[in-house]
Subunit: 585 residues, 2 copies
């Protein structure tokens, strides 16, 4: 099959392009053109071929590679993925042989002519036009470039393409001894991890108050500590102001006045939809992202869009934002192909929950649904509970603690969950993502029949436990207070720490009354007198003993509530300030 | 608090016992007696205390230990759990201190007097009666004893108690060189694994045609192979007929006439409800298991039951059977306590799906919902699909194949799922168990937002892929045939193997036409002629290329269907017979 590229002049005639390339009798497009050959675009192409042997399917990509492993790039920099070939999941040749796809790399789509139903393509040979019956835009996102003097230094690289990764690996192989990573989002953290593991003195700089800003503060701290354990210098609440290019190395000057040497600099401060080429075509954009409906349709006839460059609605908060994640992009690409080929039977594209996961050293952090900041911003009422159960039976070797939080609405609807730990994090977040997608309430988590044997879980899985605690909160068996309210609760409550004396001696909140929970039944009058009519804020290590204490207090007519997540959550929330804030017994 | 045990004579008077121990004004029992201090019983006791500070809560257990790690016993035998202390999750002393529970070990409940509201308890001091306001029976299960001559040999042990595990470990420590495990269910496989890992020549004997009978045949075979890799001699389709006790070792004679030497014998042929003590009390039993309603109520007033000894209804097939699993028992115990203490607000006990998991060497096998045998027995129409995706990105180190099957109804309802592999098995089964519990259809699995980064999954997770394939089957995009129908399909179809010549040379089904899928478009007339009007059964390695081929055939007007799971499923289903059945090109 010969690529059909018409000249701009010829194709500007309305009787060419669109008319000549009209759909076949079945309503299916004769020619489907896809812009962007990674994730959503390639999923769409592959699915379209499976649904139609007849259609001409052309994939245009400005890069040298299609269908490459963009999520694997940091691991190639680090050397965990050894071969660059391994990043190339598919080649144009194989896509031709397997799926009869016409994949054209080095083809940069610089515009759309929706009237003519043509895309305008720049190649090494100049600018040409290509007609379409249906057009799918999957341009993805590009790195944002913050206003930093000297960002054009040749030692600065993004981490978006195989070429980016190859460059960074080359610098590292050539003996780079220091690195600065700008931005501590997912890619920044992955980049810092792999550079530090290569023995490069790495500094990571994040403008937000903690690494991985979408994580709750108390979940981010274990990741900060893990990065430090790898030798990463973590600088949060600050940003690069300028980069000075030097002969031996660059120097990055931060807003806090410090200077950091860098043999290489990774720019990972975020991404934005790569839609500049389409701005003048009449395509509806919302803060740069393509507006689509539930089948990926844009405002232009026969033009669809998927992936990082599209807007979607948060199913929990209703917020509209692009979700630059590979999973939703891949699945949306497939569903758009379904709609193009068989509109009467296609499923709608689900609104992505934003489930995401990152490895940092031996730790994993993952999240699904809305975090507290998003819920606050949307004005949604919620309770967040924290738990620290082991990922599998405590008596089985390798047991390690999960730090799990679940937010739910007053009607029980699960709104979001986050988890940090060394093992089993992905499983719990996937179960919770499934529960959210299915519309389960937090109490329904009690009833989940999760697989249990000692190497894999607990008879009451951490997710079941979250359900039990959530149900207790909903039905009033337990009342909780949140670490964010620490100072307020200190003002208004008697704080009762029910841990042992030995535990309390290693650090407690100033001013607490310490009565081990095993002594509480006998010393209840002592508590009543100390409370003097105030409610009691109960604290223990993880929340379990405080729940028991709360029930003892309630049984004795005392009003109390439990610090959700206990001292473990409190310490993580305080972070580096914990040691100076807490006092010994 | 002094244990209140009345003498049988005194308690037989109706004005003692029940009347004196009536419920408090709130409707809550003053005295809750729980029979059985493991799993369901102990969960019930702990929850009851959290809901009531006032109730007297007495836990009776005939054994020396309560709340021990029964699922951990095999790993103590193997030495992976080093300390016997680690198996004792709780002690009576700690349960008293933490929860004010009155736990009495060495108390064997030998009967109930429902009229008097008393249990009859045998201790070292004789038989006594103990009154209750509410009684929860959690007696669990006991090992079945098949009719094998010589089963009373002192070298035979079950694996149900800490004492059993201690005895087996002692024998192993003392230099046992050979072992026979009778029964290849979950506990039998775990026992064989740990014994073989200790270097003991181990034979496992299973009456069913394959190990782990609830697993599908094609999923069981990788476990058989893994056990063999550990040095286990796997004998299926046979059973022990007699055990001859010898001075040096026992000899186990099997139904197939072979004899196996055994320094120790593990009896793990299954369990039955441990309800003999209650048979004469008027308690309603169904094939030995206690009949309960959705709140654990038995037919006797104020008498509840939970756990392995109770009947529950399979939520998929409607079959009634006990489910001897720790997870459902633990959760049911808690829910029964909720009902006893606050009947107006208690959630019903969910019907357990039977989600289960087992480790065997480096492999894991897990299942949830109904298997094909259960669906066949219940007369439920279904399709089963098989997939073999990697557990995480193929380009990331450590990628390994999952073997996943999902069964669903014509309306899409997910009926069951099974998975075998080296990593990530538990996560996929937990997600699918959640989906089944939530009533999702197989196509809904497409939309699950599961956590993706290269170390954890794929942009299209194996569960998403199952949804895509399931949806294809439901909407007719793909038709599948099952390995169980191999001989029938060979009679009626042209079998078309679309793998490469090199792959086919390593074994193919006799009589197939081999055309690599990349050549299919060019050689379609060759297929049409060979088919001569017959439908075409397409085969590839895992199913992916066969799906592509199926769409090419359909696009050319040829009727075809795809062997679900491809040659990998076919080989596993054929098992040891594969090499003699398959032919080279």
């Amino acid at each position: 099959m010969t690529p059909t590229v018409s000249s701009p002049a010829a194709a500007s005639r309305p009787d060419d392009g669109a008319a000549a390339l009209s759909s076949s009798g079945s309503g299916r497009p004769r020619r489907l053109v896809i812009v962007g050959g990674v994730a959503g675009g390639m999923s769409c192409a592959a699915r379209a071929r499976r649904l139609s042997e007849e259609a001409e399917i052309i994939v245009l990509d400005r890069g040298r590679h299609v269908s490459f492993a963009n999520c694997g790039l940091p691991y190639y920099v680090g050397g965990e993925i050894e071969d660059q070939e391994d990043l190339l999941v598919q080649t144009p040749e194989r896509l031709r042989a397997w799926l009869n796809l016409d994949v054209r790399t080095g083809h940069d789509v610089v515009g759309i002519d929706p009237e003519a139903q043509e895309v305008i393509v720049r190649t090494a040979d100049g600018v040409q036009r290509l007609g379409y019956d249906a057009l799918v835009l999957s341009p993805g996102a590009q790195a944002t470039r913050p206003p930093v003097d000297g960002l054009d230094s040749p030692r600065v690289a993004t981490l978006r393409s195989v070429e980016d990764a190859a460059r960074l690996r080359e610098w590292a192989d050539a003996g780079a001894r220091s690195a600065v990573v700008l931005g501590a989002g997912f890619i920044g953290v992955e980049a810092a991890e792999v550079l530090a593991k290569r023995g490069i003195a790495t500094t990571i700089v994040e403008y937000a108050e903690h690494v991985l800003p979408p994580l709750e503060r108390e979940h981010a701290y274990p990741i900060t500590q893990e990065l430090r354990g790898l030798g990463v210098d973590v600088r949060t609440g600050t940003a690069a102001e300028s980069i000075t290019h030097g002969a031996d190395a660059d120097e990055v000057r931060l807003a806090d006045g410090t200077r950091v040497r860098a043999d290489l600099i990774v720019l990972a401060t975020g991404v934005r939809p790569d839609t500049d080429a389409f701005a003048s075509s009449g395509l509806e954009l919302e803060r740069g992202a393509i507006v689509v409906d539930e089948h990926g349709r844009t405002n232009l006839p026969h033009v669809y869009a998927v992936g990082d460059a599209t807007v979607s609605t948060d199913p929990v908060t209703g917020a509209r934002r692009p979700v630059p994640l590979a999973g939703p992009a891949n699945r949306a690409g497939r569903l758009v192909a379904d709609f193009i080929m068989d509109p009467d039977h296609a499923r709608p594209i689900p609104a992505p929950l934003g489930t995401a996961i990152v490895r940092a050293g031996g730790m994993t952090a993952a999240m699904t649904g809305a975090n507290r900041a998003a819920l606050d911003a949307a004005g949604i009422e919620y309770t967040t509970i924290h738990l620290h159960p082991n990922q599998h039976a405590g008596y089985f070797p390798g047991a390690s603690q999960l730090h799990l939080s679940v937010s739910f609405a007053p009607d029980g609807r699960i709104l979001g969950a986050q988890c940090v730990g060394r093992d089993g994090v992905d499983k719990r977040i996937d179960v919770l993502a499934t529960a959210i997608r299915a519309g389960l309430g937090v109490a329904d988590l009690i009833d989940l029949d999760l697989a249990y044997a000692p190497p894999f879980g607990q008879a009451k899985d951490p997710v079941n436990l979250a359900g039990m605690l959530g149900a207790n909160v909903l039905n009033g068996t337990v009342e909780v207070w949140d670490v964010r309210d620490l100072e307020r609760v200190r003002q208004t409550h008697l704080l009762l720490d029910v841990r042992t004396r030995a535990e309390v001696a290693r650090g407690m909140v100033p001013g607490v009354l310490n009565i081990p929970h095993t002594e509480l039944r006998a010393r209840i009058e002592e508590v009543r007198q100390a409370a003097a009519g105030r409610p009691i804020g109960v604290i223990c290590q993880v929340g379990v003993r405080a729940n028991i204490a709360h029930r003892i207090l309630a049984g004795n007519g005392l009003k109390s509530s439990v610090l959700t997540g206990g001292m473990i959550t409190l310490r993580a929330w305080l972070g580096d300030a914990a040691d100076s804030y807490l006092v010994g017994a």
